[in-house]
Amino acid sequence: MSSIISKTNLSDSVVQMDILAPEIARKRKAGQFVILKVNEQGERIPLTIVDSDGEQGTITIIFQIVGKTTAMMAVMKVGDEIQDVQGPLGNPTEIENFGHVVCIGGGVGVGVIYPITKALKEAGNRVTSIIGARTKSLIILEEDMKAASNELIVTTDDGSYGVHGFVSNVLQKVIDGGEKIDHVYAIGPVPMMKAIANLTRPYGIKTIVSLNAIMVDATGMCGACRVAVGGKTKFTCVDGPEFDGHQVDFDLLTNRLRMYCEQEGQSYERHRCGWQGN
């Protein structure tokens, strides 16, 4: 059991929570994630550890309401308990002083890029960050990202805030600006990561992406999260979650993410209709 210590709504559909998990808080590194299971009937969902507080013994998670589990979590209150929290899982991000890095986050993916950005800055990199969302109200962690970067550029698809356009348009401008880029980190919706990888490939800029495959056990036991990287099958949970974006088969990932669309919809619908039966 892990208690919810604090909760903030970052936007209409994005929630941030600090949950009590002292051992995970002490151990976790940037890039790692936890598996949460809300209650006895719950499914196991992976969520990135956005931040941690060793003294308070808490980890921070951010999630978007996309289905039943996240909808249930969104209405949980401070003091409520999450039945199972397992982690830290996955390989930590390789943090070094590479020189100039560009960190790109899209939508709720900003929550995932934030701890990596912070760690890269602390390691001495010059960090240019680009965060984007569909519209202004969906931009999250702007202040945190500003603090973790040397320079932050915000974009919205509809132009309601910051630069009008996609994060990839801004990255193109940064590349065109001529300053050498040593590494790009891109985390967000699959089409965004694919676009960024396609953009950096001809320039030969190493591009790391973090994949959000469907998982069950998240310890290498089931293979639900398998992805193809450089033509080889990898498990996102134990071989990732970060991979070389130029090697990832994003179309396969997209297909596999759609595997339970119908059931997920059914489950969410049943939840929203206040199903009380058994």
Binding site: L89, V216, D217, T219, G220, M221, C222, N255
Partner: protein
Amino acid sequence: MTDTETKPKKEKIPRQAMPEQNPGDRVKNFDEVPCGYPPETAMLEAKRCIQCKKPGCVEGCPVDVRIPEFILQIAEGDFIGAARTLKETNCLPAVCGRVCPQEDQCEKTCILGKKGEPVAIGRLERFAADYERDQGAVKIPAVATPNGKKVAVIGAGPSGLTIAGDLVKLGYDITVFEALHKAGGVLIYGIPEFRLPKAIVEAEVDYLKKLGVKVITNAVIGRLKTIDELFAEGFDAVYIGVGAGAPVFMDIPGENMSGIYSANEYLTRSNLMKAYRFPEYDTPIVRGKNVAVVGGGNVAMDSVRTALRLGADNAYIIYRRSEVEMPARKEEVHHAKEEGVQFLLLTNPVEYLGSKDGWVTGVRCIRMELGEPDASGRRSPVPMPGSEFVIDVDTVVVAVGTMANPIVSSTTPGLETNRKGYIITKGESGETTRRGVYAGGDIVTGAATVILAMGAGRKAAQAIHHALSGSLQDDGEKR
């Protein structure tokens, strides 16, 4: 032999059948298939045992259950006494009575089997354990005075639970670290409800907790903490019983398409996560109409029978050898056939075909013939050129084996593994190349049976007790 000759001739009682759900009904539910002996049938079956002075059955048992003794108790109507006798050597009798391959162990060496049918030892074991539990008569035995020594057990599967039970009774302070959210290992995530009801596993784990075993779930050793950190926390010994949990895929074209599962995933979704009760439970599973399961072991049988219960119209086993070579228990193959599973033997998948959006639609297979015996002694299958054909499927479960998960060994300096990643141990004690670290079960042997993993746990318990009680005496002398 002389044992049988000196006894007066008994009236011949035939081996008693165990009632079970009929196939037409049971494919529509996940309830247990065999229903267990009623008491009078159990007593009748128990009377078949001739009480050999040198019982072959005990030699065939990896945990040395005192078989004639508990069977005599059943014959005399002392069912609770029989359960207690069982539990002295086997902490999971209700599990073993159901999933042990008795035909290859105790029942294989039963003297009655020489001329007729062996005593149904497994069914009797199950009967006694179930009787005790159903009567609410489970007694928590006295444990030794705490000896102040702490042992960490990694993995709450059959092996880990056995060593935990053995050592806690000897006075050790035992903590079991389980990666998943529920204890039981393969008994919980792998073996389906219709073969091993989860309430039984939960009862067995509760029994251990009442003995004083601490079980910490969601604890992935190797990630949350390392073995070095466990020693730093004050554990005197560590036992690794993490199983061989990583799935093997065949690496053929199309294997990552949607609708293709490893058996581990398919069974974990259905059993651990209870996806068969979706949407009451939140985890979904694909309810395929045409399901192919690749493999011929018990896991393949569990998968294909799960597929039928999830509503498959056609459920196939695709196996590259013939039925004789199938590693699954005969009983499981028999149950699968009764339930309508279609067996495509001497057949191997070579490629998966899919729709535009990446969902599997077919499996291209090739016919095989048996050639020369291979290293395992089984005749190795050889593809027959030009014999390819396609079966339409919407779901595939790959059940061709498992391999070692490196998550513990890769984070433990000094712990040596073999070429395949299994932990190297010295003989039966389970001692590894790292001082104070023991290992047993599938992570040492590769995928095997529940009872062999339990046997390894038992032997390691003795080795750890030997090593640590020696140091207990040393401590005493120092004081």
